[in-house]
């Protein structure tokens, strides 16, 4: 099973306003990540960079799910298309071990795919 992170709540810690709250289990999946950031695409999000937020979500690593609660800094807001904006959150306080497990799981899944692809194509 593919590993991913699903977000169900993002709150602006300064104003205590909800930036996002999942309704009817409509979690959003992160659209991208880097070593210390996650990227989330939202429609009509009204927030400026520099804000501190709390992020609540679930990390799915293979078959197991774990709660993921983090404090992050919104470092970039980028309009992608129509009303969709991409928010880049730099993680500040977060479950480090869980996050590392997620990164390792993604990396090893991709490595397995690359190996399988090369093996089947006869490149290995």
């Amino acid at each position: 099973m593919n590993s991913t992170i699903k977000i169900y709540k993002i709150i602006n810690l300064m104003t205590e306003l909800e930036i996002f709250c999942a309704k009817n289990d409509q979690f959003i999946e992160i659209s991208e990540f880097s070593e210390t950031s996650i990227f989330v695409d939202l429609t009509d999000a009204k927030i400026n960079p520099g804000q501190l937020v709390s992020i609540s979500g679930v990390v799915q690593i293979k078959e197991s799910s774990h709660a993921f609660d983090a404090i992050a800094n919104l470092v970039k807001v980028q309009t992608l298309v129509e009303k969709i904006v991409r928010l880049e959150f730099q993680l500040r306080q977060f479950p480090k071990i869980l996050w590392d497990d997620f990164l390792i799981s993604k990396e090893s899944a991709q490595e397995n795919i690359d190996t399988l692809l090369k093996k089947i194509k006869g490149e290995l």
């Binding site: 099973m1 593919n2 991913t4 992170i5 999946e29 992160i30 659209s31 991208e32 990540f33 880097s34 070593e35 990227f39 695409d41 992608l80 298309v81 129509e82 969709i84 991409r86 880049e88 993604k106 899944a109 991709q110 795919i113 690359d114 399988l116 692809l117 093996k119 089947i120 194509k121 006869g122 490149e123």
Partner: protein, 439 residues
């Protein structure tokens, strides 16, 4: 998003467009930015969110770079890549799948479709750019060996099999372990109809690298083509143990198992079938026929329970098609297995109940247990409704003969002759052979 180092992608693509086929507008926009960072002009990038649009764009714009989701609506990204493959030789194009689907059989399908990159969403954009750069560099600076292989592939695509073979054989001297050249040389021999030489090439490839996927599966496919099912069957286990199974390969495995009477393996293959994301119409047809054959085999063995099991799987595979169900039911009626015939009949698609073909089949089953007089009465109704079939006429004339109803039988035969004159002699013989004074 990280800024990537200068890339050779613009050099590789020149003026050719890039297609991003993905239902997510935000993901498409992200890939678009990533490509722009790699030096691709915005005007070169086309985006499709629907499969039909993507297909139209591949045909019309002939993009040398296709980045696609594995599945868009009911269409598959591999179908887009197949079109792109018909437009460019593999060294001249890049195909990339970005998806959340990590099923091994899907990856194997992608690899057999010569997909260059396969990335699991979500991913860091830097990883995407790095992988793209690796692919481009590999395509821009191929080794002398790969140049020969690619040249052979161009001839092969043009059906110039002798010239292709020449290139592949020449390539074999350019690398210590030329497994790919062996595989493609094998394919060229295959295309020329020289299957034995093809087998030699595939085996040679495996001598350089044991269990080399392409050579191993090439050998398996060639053996199936040669109808050497016993030898093909021997290869199923090593393939299955070491690699995910693709739709096409699984179809051949069903064939090999049936021809070698390894019917007990079919349930294992059915599990593999259930795990496949893509099931081609050919696979659906072959696997359901395999289940039908297995069921017939177990009926012959008097193992009706197992026959029912396999028939049920066959029915599930082909979506409870009535013609398939009819074949199954008739197999049980032939051996007077009423309970099993009725059980299978109960699996009918509810939409078929009440139709003429259902009424006929229902009669065929019930006549196995109805007392002759009742059966005759029921059949008369069926025949007068115009639903008589040769089988129904035969069984009713037989029942009438046994009851000594000669006149009634003759009038039934007259009706049968109206629908098919050839039935006359057959039915008269049944009547004369079975009248009470004759027995």
């Amino acid at each position: 998003m990280t800024v990537s180092p200068p890339s050779n992608l613009p050099v590789f693509l020149q003026e050719s467009p890039c297609l991003i086929a993905d239902p997510s507008p935000s993901f498409s926009a992200t890939i678009q930015f990533a490509l722009q960072q790699m030096g691709i002009r915005l005007s070169q990038i086309v985006i499709a969110r629907k499969f039909s649009d993507a297909k139209k764009l591949v045909i019309e714009k002939k993009p040398r770079l296709v980045i696609t989701e594995h599945q868009i609506e009911n269409g598959f990204g591999l179908d887009l890549i197949e079109i792109q493959d018909s437009q460019y030789e593999q060294s001249q194009r890049i195909s990339f799948i970005t998806t959340q689907n990590s099923t091994e059989s899907t990856i194997a399908e992608a690899a057999e479709g010569q997909v260059d990159g396969y990335m699991l969403k979500p991913f860091p954009m830097s990883a995407f750019q790095k992988r793209m750069t690796e692919i481009v560099n590999q395509k821009i600076n191929p080794s002398e060996y790969l140049l020969k292989v690619n040249s052979g592939k161009i001839h092969f695509a043009k059906s110039e099999f002798d010239m292709a073979l020449g290139e592949f054989l020449a390539a074999k001297s350019l690398k210590e372990k030329p497994t790919l050249a062996c595989f493609f040389a094998g394919n060229s021999f295959n295309a020329k109809g020289d299957y034995l030489s093809a087998l030699k090439e595939y085996k040679q490839g495996q001598s350089y690298q044991a269990l080399h996927y392409l050579c191993l599966t090439g050998e398996f496919d060639a053996l199936v083509t040669l109808k050497n099912y016993e030898a093909a069957y021997e290869l199923i286990e090593p393939i299955r143990k070491n690699y995910p199974i693709t739709s096409r390969r699984l179809a051949n495995m069903f064939v090999a198992a049936v021809y070698t009477n390894h019917f007990d393996d079919l349930s294992t293959f059915y599990s593999l079938y259930c795990g496949l994301e893509i099931r081609t119409p050919e696979l659906i047809q072959i696997s359901s026929i395999a289940m039908l054959t297995a069921g017939k085999y177990f009926i012959k063995q008097q193992n009706f329970k197992k026959a029912v099991e396999y028939f049920e799987i066959g029915l599930m595979i082909n979506g409870r098609s009535f013609s398939f169900l009819e074949k199954i039911v008739m197999e049980f009626t032939k051996v007077n297995a009423f309970v099993e015939a009725e059980l299978m009949l109960s699996k009918v698609n509810p939409l078929d109940i009440g139709t003429d073909h259902y009424t006929r089949l229902h009669f065929q089953v019930s006549q196995l247990i109805l007392p002759p007089a009742e059966m005759v009465e029921k059949s008369r109704k069926i025949i007068s409704a115009g639903l008589g079939t040769p089988e129904i006429f035969k069984s009713v004339v037989l029942a009438m003969a046994k009851l000594g109803k000669e006149t009634l039988a003759e009038s039934t035969i007259a009706k049968a002759i109206e629908s098919d004159p050839k039935l006359g002699p057959i039915l008269y013989k049944i009547l004369s052979d079975n009248l009470p004074n004759k027995t």
